[in-house]
Symmetry: C2
Subunit: 332 residues, 2 copies
Amino acid sequence: MGLEKAVVKPHERLAAALAPELEAVNALIRERMSSKHAPRIPEVTAHLVEAGGKRLRPMLTLAAAKACGYEGPYHIHLASTVEFIHTATLLHDDVVDESAQRRGRPTANLLWDNKSSVLVGDYLFARAFQLMTDADNMRVLQILSNASATIAEGEVLQLTAAQDLKTDESVYLQVVRGKTAALFSAATEVGGVLAEADERVVKALFDYGDALGISFQIVDDLLDYWGSDQTGKNVGDDFRERKLTLPVIKAVAKADDEERAFWVRTIEKGKQEDGDLAHAIALLNKHDALEETRAVALEWADKAKAALSAVPQGEITGMLSDIADYVVARLR
Amino acid sequence: MGLEKAVVKPHERLAAALAPELEAVNALIRERMSSKHAPRIPEVTAHLVEAGGKRLRPMLTLAAAKACGYEGPYHIHLASTVEFIHTATLLHDDVVDESAQRRGRPTANLLWDNKSSVLVGDYLFARAFQLMTDADNMRVLQILSNASATIAEGEVLQLTAAQDLKTDESVYLQVVRGKTAALFSAATEVGGVLAEADERVVKALFDYGDALGISFQIVDDLLDYWGSDQTGKNVGDDFRERKLTLPVIKAVAKADDEERAFWVRTIEKGKQEDGDLAHAIALLNKHDALEETRAVALEWADKAKAALSAVPQGEITGMLSDIADYVVARLR
């Protein structure tokens, strides 16, 4: 079961359909990441913002607003807000994880220092809230501040849950909702709120973003054991960092005593030796943990697509559906 | 010129006058620092929030609103917001400064780890924005998000400016405005905005907070060379951390070649030896740098008091004036 490069990339089609809006988002991001007094801020931010991320989250806001017929200017501000929040969390994540690489380049904490990553992240977070106030919509502010709190809560929960074998699928889901899905669902929800869509539609957009985000993160966690060089992920990173993700949770649930001792040693105690990663993958395969995790990711992708039935249909909504397929297509 | 314990503590009188409001603030802080999923969050937060800080910043918001005749409930939310922003910046500052002590207790980054300090700080920051939206006042949100951006900008500026002997008094003032005065002035300004005070009064409250914050930070920086054990500060911390503060900036401006070489070695290059702190203090005294810095702090305290003339007079406003005196009275 290898991973092949998908031929069709629906997020690229969406980016083409939203090209003028995305250009406006990029211009606004460049404008607002500047700093009169502290040139280090745009340096650090540009390193990350211009590193060729797919701008998936801001595209979700633009797409949701457009699908609901929004014609004003503020989806640009909210999409930029979402990207700023995302960038701020990446800067802080890399400090927390002590990462050396992101998107194939050295991380900001390595190129500058942890201090700069912490403080520039704070700056971007504050800038995100400034940008939000431009839209003059209190409900949007509530949604995005709630999402920010949920993100931080998910990350803190991960700190304590990740190396604890008692962590079960429900705690894992909470972590994933926090660290990934909360920003996806807020991104789509605020698009609908800004367009003054029906509550039913707003709820559907939230559900789409939530399910897409969960699917996205599960696939990410799965590729950490299943990936190849083509995915840009290093197989085994999560294992080495002792992060208890869904594949391992499923294998631990079926472990016999000897296997359990292996997981205690490698994940809980962090005493890893040569050959442990290969043995871990063998255990995941033995208990069908990778296949079962893949099935969960597919379920969430289906939920995401199903939610879209309540959203006005059209070209953009079709592309959002294709994106849900694409996220799990990385697992072919 | 020794430092004596002041007999009159006007912030304690203000706390007494605002006792019911402060109790409501403390209750709201305890409620909002909780987390359903991540118990580490209230642990870390309580360590800092309950460490016996003076609650000066939230008191400023309460006092400003009351001085302007505000009778609604939301000054409690905004005061709590201000304290959350302050607490979040303290958590991140201690990571950035690699501090081991704050308010006479071990720092959170030491008791838990840097990861927890970064992420719990993010959580409190997000919670602060949630709290703000309760007041349903877009201008208040703008003021506090602007202040948050200015704080982070000031901290980043300090990273690059602190060890650079080219840093002059105007850059120092920018750093101080960012790291300290921005939250003081936002705290007082939002009190006036919430009370729907005249623009002239709102501006005066901003000016008071700005000048008070600048005075406060200059005194803090001065006590680092002038303090005694009674102040709770360790003399020489800034020197050891190579922070270029106003006393040193003034001494550097008057330095001869040999003295300049001393500052380059100790501050720019960070090569410090036994006896360097004593020599630094001798140079500060030689050039009257401590006295001149004290004069600047007094000037800003006077500006703070002068601004209050445009604010409705009464018991609370009188106490705000006394607080400006008290800040510099620490330097007697």
